[in-house]
């Protein structure tokens, strides 16, 4: 297989899964003839036609709501929300219907659906085109949430999500859509299991944990630390609900220092949960408090997104603090 960007990989993966299982149906705004605003569903309409690649009205509540009914009755819908920022009109459906269908029906019904959404900043989109709403979903029992940072993980996790018998919120770091190309395995069943983190670099001075778009800056910071002669251990969470406590706790217990990087606002964030778990489980082994490097507790700013996004310099300052502690 040739090298593909993340967004090309997503289109390819949807194609592979639609070919494998004719219950898989794509729906959303402009996903058909246009192939999606970011082209994540490119060419699917030509191949599978309007019954399986459905151009919907501008109706997030109805897209997600209809996906529940479709999923509960024999289909495997993959709904696209054009930007994660537009999920809120459909948020009620996700929280009240999607997440609770299995539980509230005593296990009679399931909603095996995927809601894909490009998230995060760095594209100068302002506060309605840059948000990182993953914490809302992680906080909602019944939803699985994944947020890959590489093409191969996007493919493996999307396959797992589509094949999962529970609903999965599939978040995509839009500023990494075309950042790198990656050679993908030929294996059509190369799944990345939901709930399993990836260790990107092994080291023993400080653990850096991140996911999604912020993996780019975290990797740059780690490279800079290596140049300074330090040995960072880098973990890409990939899955946020459930998240891989074992991999994180094992590393932090061994190294004793951890910096948690995510561009989402700080308060009640996914990284707050990770930090709390580390504190609960490992207080005795910690050599410094877990530090979060995050976006600010503000709406996403238009002009000042350089300040807002946690870049390598802020990550390095936090690393220095845990080293000096």
């Amino acid at each position: 297989m040739s090298a593909l960007t993340m967004v090309q990989t997503i289109a390819r993966t949807l194609d592979e899964e639609m070919a494998r299982d004719d219950r898989v149906v794509v729906l959303g705004e402009d996903v058909g003839k246009r192939g999606g605003v970011f082209l994540a569903t490119e060419k699917l309409f030509d191949k599978y036609g309007p019954d399986r690649v459905i151009d919907s009205p501008l109706s997030e509540a109805a897209i997600i709501g209809a996906a529940v009914g479709m999923a509960a009755h024999g289909l495997r819908p993959v709904a696209e929300i054009q930007f994660a920022d537009y999920v809120y009109p459909g948020f009620d459906q996700l929280v009240s219907q999607v997440a609770k269908l299995r539980y509230r029906s005593g296990g009679q019904f399931t909603a095996p659906l995927v809601v894909r959404m490009p998230a995060g900043g760095g594209v100068k989109g302002g506060h309605h085109h840059s948000q990182s709403p993953e914490a809302h979903f992680v906080h909602t029992a019944g939803l699985k949430v994944v947020f890959p940072s590489t093409p191969a993980d996007a493919r493996g996790l999307l396959k797992s999500a589509i094949r999962d018998d529970d609903p999965v919120v599939f978040m995509e770091p839009k500023r990494l859509y075309r950042a790198v190309k990656e050679e993908l395995p030929d294996d059509l069943d190369a799944l990345v299991p939901i709930g399993k983190a990836a260790v990107r670099r092994v080291g023993d001075d400080v653990v850096l944990v991140s996911y999604g778009g912020s993996m780019a800056e975290t990797t740059r910071a780690a490279d800079a630390l290596v140049e300074q002669g330090l040995s960072p251990h880098v973990i890409d969470l990939r899955s946020l609900a459930p998240w891989d406590e074992e991999t994180v706790l094992e590393a932090v217990a061994r190294v004793g220092r951890v910096v948690l990087v995510s561009e989402a606002p700080k308060s009640a964030s996914v990284m707050s949960e990770v930090a709390a778990t580390i504190a609960e489980e490992l207080l005795d082994q910690l050599l410094a408090p877990p530090l979060r490097v995050s976006g600010f507790d503000t709406p996403y700013p238009y002009a000042q997104d350089r300040e807002y996004l946690p870049g390598p310099a802020r990550i390095m300052r936090a690393v220095q603090r845990v080293l000096d502690y």
């Binding site: 402009d30 151009d55 989109g125 302002g126 507790d297 503000t298 238009y302 807002y308």
Partner: protein, 333 residues
């Protein structure tokens, strides 16, 4: 209650020369502003994207000419025209587009979020349908305060897909609120013709609620203005809400980056609208035919607007970026 209004492209003009020039000038200001916005994008000088209002000028200007400064509007992602028509300054608008400190939102919002309290503009909104509640609430407040203000909610036909719009229209009709829902039907959502995403008719949605509903040629600024003038006067007097569907067209792509669009919209159709139904050209011709302005006077107006816009842009390009410390400003009081 349902009435439709035929386009009134003929007949004598019942406006003064002064009003005629102002309307012409306002439409031209929008057009020139958008030309600059497009160039800023193409030259890589503007961050992000923007959605141009070019082609739809008669709607914003026809509507806002029927309003007082104290009246409210809410706007959309395609909002520059609404801002200008409601009285915004071009320099502060350009500054906002460029994320500069003197911009309307101090660089916090950008193109899709310009708000101008002084002129009753409660803000553009990048969430489609997102401002329908705000407009309706402003109307409820006006009614409760007995202020006599009217609110206009601008939205594209795409917003008909959003539940909120239907929820607030029900409230407005139920409670007789002074709000006019102005649907700018420019035929396309992003890349899909509205007939593929919209069942039934636009007016039918108001009809179901017993709300007054009109459709009007949105390329005819006086036709738009006439309908709105009547509805605004009625709303001010407690006559309740209405919906107006304005048939119009956006000349450019959905946003500035949408260049190759033949897969969803034929070039011939674009040309037809541009050449035969251009709102500014048509209105200019009518002013001249009615003896309210000469071709030379219109040319002079155009030149003056070009000068104003160039100076406004120069101001914005030279303006400072907001201080980094402002990033946490205005989250709370």
């Amino acid at each position: 209650m349902i009435e439709t209004k035929e386009p009134s492209m003929s007949g004598a003009l019942r406006i003064s020369a002064e009003v005629g020039s102002r309307i012409y000038q306002q439409m031209w200001r929008i057009r020139v502003f958008e030309e600059h916005a497009n160039e800023l994008y193409l030259a890589g000088k503007m961050p992000g994207l923007t959605h141009l209002y070019t082609g739809q000028e008669a709607v914003a200007v026809g509507v806002c000419e029927a309003l007082q400064r104290e009246d409210y509007i809410t706007s959309t992602h395609r909002g520059h025209g609404h801002c200008v028509a409601k009285g915004a300054r071009l320099d502060l608008m350009f500054a906002e587009l460029l994320g500069r400190s003197p911009g309307y939102n101090r660089g916090k919002g950008g193109s899709m979020h310009i708000a101008d309290q002084e002129n009753g503009n409660l803000g553009a909104n990048a969430i489609v349908g997102g401002s329908a509640g705000i407009a309706t609430g402003a109307a409820l407040s006006a009614k409760m305060r007995g202020s006599g203000q009217v609110a206009v909610c601008f939205f594209g036909e795409g917003a008909l897909g959003q539940g909120l719009l239907h929820e607030v229209m029900n409230m407005a009709q139920l409670w007789d609120l002074p709000v006019i829902y102005v649907c700018e039907n420019n035929r396309y959502g992003e890349y899909t013709h509205f007939s593929e995403t919209t069942a039934g008719t636009v007016l039918g949605r108001a009809q179901a609620l017993g709300m007054k509903a009109f459709e009007v040629d949105g390329q005819d600024v006086l036709a738009v203005n006439e309908v709105l003038t009547q509805l605004v006067a009625a709303a001010r007097d407690g006559g309740g809400p209405a919906l107006v569907e304005c048939h119009t067209y956006r000349y450019h792509g959905h946003h500035v980056g949408d260049i190759n669009r033949e897969y969803y919209r034929p070039k011939a159709e674009e040309l037809e609208w541009r050449e035969k139904r251009d709102p500014i050209k048509l209105f200019g011709e009518r002013l001249v035919a009615a003896g309210l302005a000469s071709a030379e006077e219109l040319a002079a107006l155009q030149a003056a607007v070009r000068e104003e816009a160039a100076a406004a842009l120069a101001f914005a390009l030279a303006a400072p970026f907001p201080d980094p410390s402002e990033v946490t400003l205005h989250v709370y009081a």
